[in-house]
């Protein structure tokens, strides 16, 4: 079974028509939104304009909203915190997944050291839920408000997300006599502008752009990420991962090729695919 995911921080805006265009274009199965102000009823009417494919999966915390083309009982809420939502995705055939959606505090309100502490906490919750589920078929997706190279993402006590499949395939490493499992973070590969056009148009240098007047400014950031546990590496298709720059006929970029936060959002959406999900 193939599952196509879309994640987007919509900057406190509804954007239901753009979201619906994206879902149609990319044939999305699971749609995760943060900072989305479209009431679910309105989003459903937009998503289901042509046929009633999508349903809304309510969770106690509406911080991350999940819509899907899966049957209603395929998604089970496991745990909600201020920064994360844990859901079990049961497939018609085969093994289920643990889907964790995150929206971590912004650098505007939290120092990097504090952001890392939040990562440590969520990573602990991930391991607790994996123990309960009895498997490690986990993906974490969302707006981390941190780059892939920051401590909270990289540290063995945080998400422990590494930049190559080969490293992640080792499963875990021992840190001061404790085994710490890896995640694979394919977003490392999405830093920097591509000189060739991607499948869905211009490939931007990140998912979020912020220019400030401090001496050190990265300008582009990859705050929106997907992390894959080694047990799902065979299902994850690196080629399917894209930072999306248009929705239907609407460009999500301004003329200077940075995110158009007036017409859409200051973040760009990401899409990716898991293939043969559910197989051992």
């Amino acid at each position: 079974m193939m599952l196509k995911f879309l994640f987007w921080n919509t900057k406190r805006r509804p954007l239901e028509n753009l979201v619906a265009d994206l879902c149609r274009t990319h044939e999305i199965d699971l749609l995760l939104l943060v900072e989305n102000t479209a009431p679910p009823a309105r989003m459903l009417l937009s998503l289901n304009k042509k046929s009633a494919d999508y349903r809304y999966h309510h969770s106690p915390s509406e911080k991350t909203k999940l819509y899907s083309r899966l049957p209603r009982n395929s998604v089970i809420n496991m745990r909600d915190t201020l920064d994360s939502s844990f859901r079990r995705v049961q497939l018609l055939v085969g093994n289920d997944l643990l889907l964790v959606a995150v929206h971590l505090p912004s650098k505007l309100y939290m120092a990097p050291a504090d952001q890392s502490q939040i990562c440590t906490r969520i990573a602990r919750h991930v391991r607790e839920e994996e123990l309960k589920a009895g498997h490690m078929r986990t993906i974490v997706v969302g707006d981390f408000n941190m780059n892939p190279f920051e401590d909270g993402l990289v540290s063995s006590e945080g998400f422990h997300a590494v930049m190559t499949r080969a490293l992640a395939a080792k499963g875990a490493r021992s840190v001061r006599q404790d085994d710490r499992p890896f995640f694979y973070n394919p977003m490392w590969n999405r830093f920097g502008e591509s000189l060739t056009r991607g499948l869905y148009g211009h490939r931007p240098a990140g998912t979020y752009y912020y220019a400030d007047s401090k001496p050190v400014s990265l300008f582009w950031h990859v705050f929106d990420q997907v992390l894959i546990r080694p047990d799902l590496l065979n299902c994850f298709d690196d080629q399917s991962l894209h930072i999306v720059t248009s929705a239907g006929d609407t460009s999500l970029l301004k003329a200077d090729q940075t995110p158009n936060s007036r017409a859409a959002s200051d973040h760009l959406p990401i899409v990716f695919t898991l293939n043969n999900v559910g197989r051992d």
């Binding site: 406190r12 009823a41 309105r42 459903l44 309510h58 009982n73 309100y109």
Partner: protein, 141 residues
């Protein structure tokens, strides 16, 4: 067929339209007719002290915090018919259908009843009313 196979030719299960399948078809249709603003699902119900099978039809409003209401129940022997149909929300609660055609007619009567239609209308209106909120929500970041 192997000589060890004493089961004979099994019947074609697609040819048998069991009551729960008719109910599940109607559950799917509600989602399609409302753009999934309302959904319905069929839940098995466990009955103690009997070998009968039982199910209930529940309407769910996902955007109203998954509000749900059971509108009808059925129970029947393993042979499928007769089906005892119980309307949970209307008058005339119990009736019996002895075959597929009768069961279909009973479903039409209950699902089209003023009581069920009133519930659907109310849940749809309240679901759509939520579209007016949320424009200025602030999010902790």
């Amino acid at each position: 067929m192997s000589s060890n196979d004493l089961w004979g030719s099994l019947p074609d299960d697609e040819a048998i339209i069991v009551p729960v399948r008719l109910l599940a078809d109607q559950a799917d249709l509600l989602g399609q007719k409302t753009g999934n603003l309302l959904e319905a699902r069929v839940n098995p119900v466990s009955l103690s002290g009997t070998k009968n099978l039982a199910y209930e039809l529940e309407i769910i409003a996902p955007v109203l915090d998954n509000y749900s209401i059971t509108v009808m129940r059925i129970r029947h022997p393993i042979e499928s018919y007769p089906v005892v149909v119980e309307s949970v929300v209307g008058g005339n609660p119990m009736r019996e259908a002895t075959n597929e055609a009768e069961f279909s007619a009973t479903l039409r009567e209950i699902l089209g009843s003023s009581e069920v239609q009133r519930i659907i209308g109310s849940l749809l209106s309240q679901s759509k009313a939520t579209m007016r909120r949320g424009q200025d929500e602030s999010f902790p970041r």
